[in-house]
């Protein structure tokens, strides 16, 4: 018979109503044999008592339903964000709060580089916190005039480069006439590039190319470390290109004995027909392993609200910007939904604007009539601007939603002031409405767009505080218990994994978040400050301090 380990804890929060709180959990073969007190668990026979967590709080391993493994790769670049942020090795990078601070940090990294031609890359720049003062080509030239430099914005939609990078990309010239390339008084580009079509030609010279979204082996390992530090044991890669090499690499890295998380990569619906995509994912699903859950699709309906590329219903953008862009035509989406439903493949669809959400609802309805699929759990991702009527339709169609709670903190002020205006800004990421309507709900970070950290995400949904400190949308706040549910069972449900993870109960995977503080006692205003000791994944213990 296999060995049984019984862990003693200060407190175990199970997220299972039949035994909400316990003192001990028994693990056998990487699964939960039982949860209760020692006397109850001892009835299973011989065991080894492990006191490692005697003064810790245990929760189910946290589930992040919308992140990108690219977060692991980006940490090899210079962090230029405004907010403090921890890297995979646990080093806390202080936010760079002025352009000078950003330049100093880049200069420091430049000095340490040995190859004089290698590009210098930074990430997570966001001028909105610095009175919208823009970084210029000249600023970055002060770091180096001979080496190409590129700094990606937090949104991922803007790239700042120096003169050398513009030269290499063929854009260091006058007479350019493109909405994505602002020009200086001298007629040359200022060094800010907006949108993929202007970023790509220069991006390849400064370390940002398409394949960045395919995490390499080191990136995926670093991503795993971030999971341990944040208490996450199940995480999505939303979305991946899943080229043959990438799949092999992901299978091999997640298969390593020390890989600490279950990764759920979703195949991006782009550059292939609906039929090809569904056929490919059906084949990939057969290769899924315990730690690499292949077999799901992500579609993208529109762009982003702060990039003005989201599709908005009347009255459109608050500042009068023209309506955004469709990334996928309704006909293509309709075809994808029908084929995927028929093949039993789940589809998650990115919508930001409320018109995009409406289009998906209009499209999925008829597909479900044609291919009745109880328990499909098709999920709207972001879905930031949905109104109450749309949540009611989601409920009726059997959809789930994964709301972008973190976005509210980072860009809520911007939405209030500029993109959607005061009234609609209040209803963005409407967690309360989702729960009251009965739509199964998760909340997410979209890391690397915002930092990975489900307790911070939960704090955002509970408090709805924006970066400037205002409460925006009092009526959409949710309770601490509801937020904790959303980052465990709630997110697991959107992935059809709530039978395996998301709560501590017999039969499930032995996936735990090991905490120093009790999230149910620390209070809503402090929820983001819950300290994470590490995780247990499939019965294997990972201490963040030992990574």
């Amino acid at each position: 018979m296999s060995d049984t380990t019984i862990y003693t804890a200060r407190k175990i929060i199970t997220m299972n109503r039949n035994r909400p709180i316990a003192s001990h959990v028994a693990v056998r073969d990487g699964r939960i044999l039982g949860v209760g007190d020692l006397e109850e668990l001892a009835t299973w026979g011989e065991y080894k008592l492990d006191e490692t967590f005697a003064d810790k709080i245990l929760m189910p391993g946290l589930v992040e339903g919308h992140a990108h493994t690219m977060e692991g790769t980006l940490w090899r670049y210079v962090y230029c964000g405004y907010f403090d942020r921890a890297d995979p090795d646990g080093k806390m990078w202080e936010g760079a709060r002025t352009i000078d601070a950003i330049l100093d940090r880049l200069k420091q990294a430049e000095v340490e580089m040995t190859d004089p031609d290698a590009p210098l890359s930074g990430w997570s720049l966001d001028p909105i916190y610095m009175d919208n003062k823009r970084v210029t080509r000249a600023d970055l030239d002060s770091v180096s005039q001979t080496r190409p430099i590129g700094v990606l914005h937090a949104s991922g939609h803007i790239l700042n480069v120096n003169t050398k990078a513009l030269e290499l990309g063929g854009l260091m010239k006058t007479g350019l006439n493109h909405p994505g390339i602002p020009l200086g008084a001298d007629g040359y580009p200022t060094g800010e590039l907006y949108g993929p079509e202007t970023m790509t030609p220069v991006g390849v010279h400064v370390g940002f190319n398409r394949s960045l979204t395919d995490s390499d082996a080191q990136g995926l390992r670093d991503f795993g470390k971030l999971c341990v530090r944040t208490g996450v044991t199940t995480i999505t890669d939303l979305a991946a290109r899943l080229e043959p090499d990438g799949v092999e690499s992901m299978l091999s890295v997640t298969g390593e004995d020390t890989y600490p998380a279950r990764v759920v990569p979703l195949q991006m619906f782009m550059g292939a027909t609906a039929k090809e995509t569904v056929d490919k994912v059906v084949a990939l699903k057969k290769r899924a392993t315990d730690r690499l859950r292949l077999g799901r699709i992500k579609a993208v309906a529109d762009g982003s609200i702060q990039g003005f590329s989201a599709r908005m219903r009347w009255p459109g953008y608050h500042n009068g910007a023209p309506n955004g862009l469709w990334y996928t035509a309704p006909e293509q989406l309709a075809q994808l939904y029908r084929l995927a439903l028929a093949a039993g493949i789940q589809v998650h669809t990115h919508t930001n604007g409320d018109e995009a959400t409406e289009m998906v609802l209009d499209t999925l309805g008829p597909a479900l009539t044609d291919v009745p699929s109880p328990d499909h759990r098709f999920t709207l991702q972001h879905c930031q601007l949905a109104d109450a009527a749309q949540f009611r339709r989601m409920k009726n169609l059997g959809m789930c939603v994964n709301l972008f709670a973190n976005h509210h903190f980072y860009w809520g002020d911007e939405h209030y002031r500029l993109t959607v205006g005061p009234e609609r800004a209040l209803r963005m990421n409407a967690c309360r409405t989702a729960l009251d309507t009965g739509v199964p709900m998760a909340i997410h970070s979209d890391a690397p767009v915002t930092p990975l950290g489900p307790f911070f995400t939960a704090w955002c949904a509970v408090n709805r505080i924006t970066a400037s400190g205002r409460v925006q949308g009092e009526s959409e706040k949710i309770a601490v218990e509801e937020a904790l549910y959303a980052i465990t069972i709630g997110a697991a449900y959107t992935l059809h994994m709530d039978d395996e993870v998301g709560s501590i109960e017999v039969g499930k995977k032995a996936d735990f978040a090991i905490l120093e503080d009790d999230p149910t006692e620390i209070g809503g205003p402090n929820l983001k400050d819950v300290r994470v000791w590490g995780t247990v994944s499939g019965g294997r213990v990972f201490c963040a301090a030992d990574l």
């Binding site: 079509e197 550059g271 292939a272 027909t273 469709w326 035509a329």
Partner: protein
Amino acid sequence: MPALPVTVIGGYLGAGKTTMVNHLLRHADGVRLAVLVNEFGELAIDEDLIEAEDDTLISIAGGCVCCSFGSDLTGALLEMAKMHPRPDHLLIESSGVAIPGAIAGSVSLLDGFHVDGVVILADAETLRDSAQDKYMGDTVLRQISDANIIILNKTDLVAADALAETSAWLAAQNPNVRIIETQHGNVVPEAVLDSFLVKAAASGPHHHTANMEMMTLTPDQRVDVDDLARHLADENLGLIRAKGFATSLSGQKMLIQVVGSRWATSEAAQDKADGIVCLGFKGQMSKVALP
């Protein structure tokens, strides 16, 4: 090396883009076309044209190729330009939701490429409905307003008065556009790509196709090249395309490229002979003259 011409072909789903691209490939006649498609759909290229096929490239009779660019158009363009032998002309078949003007804008940023216009396919039968579609209406209108040439396809499916009405509506949406009516994507190839126009002009006596005709304008002295190009692009003249060489007032040989109302001039090798091939609708060509 002269800039590689790139034509952006757009239009909403079902307008007949794929049919027209196949028609162009059938009439390539020695012009090496490279077609860039968003994805290899089930019917991207007619079966009988395909010589060989792998995951990313289809080889087509006559030295043409077709590749899928997925999410990396820039990368695909750079790849195509490196091919041996180099293609004569690139065609981007953009997706039904793409804004073709944005694609043309990004192509124009790349060194070594020249935008040879935006050609939009429109379905004569369904165009007015799709322009009012709850979701796609404004996208369809943006595609129309980005066009230099609109191929109004499937005219056999609508009555004459309805067709005239649709044509007039299109002209009102985009006063600078040239509208070519056609069926089954059977458009005069010279109207779509300037490489065909140049080849047709070189291959001897000008043929007259359908309702179009071709002529060569040969300046016998130096001219204000921009003036000439602007004149050829004038909507009252209604030329569909023009391309050729003229000598500027300062004696520099210049290339003139006109597609609909869009014109461009650029310096060319001094040994080029003066002469501009013009393609227009029958009955209009008599107005074409040096300004």
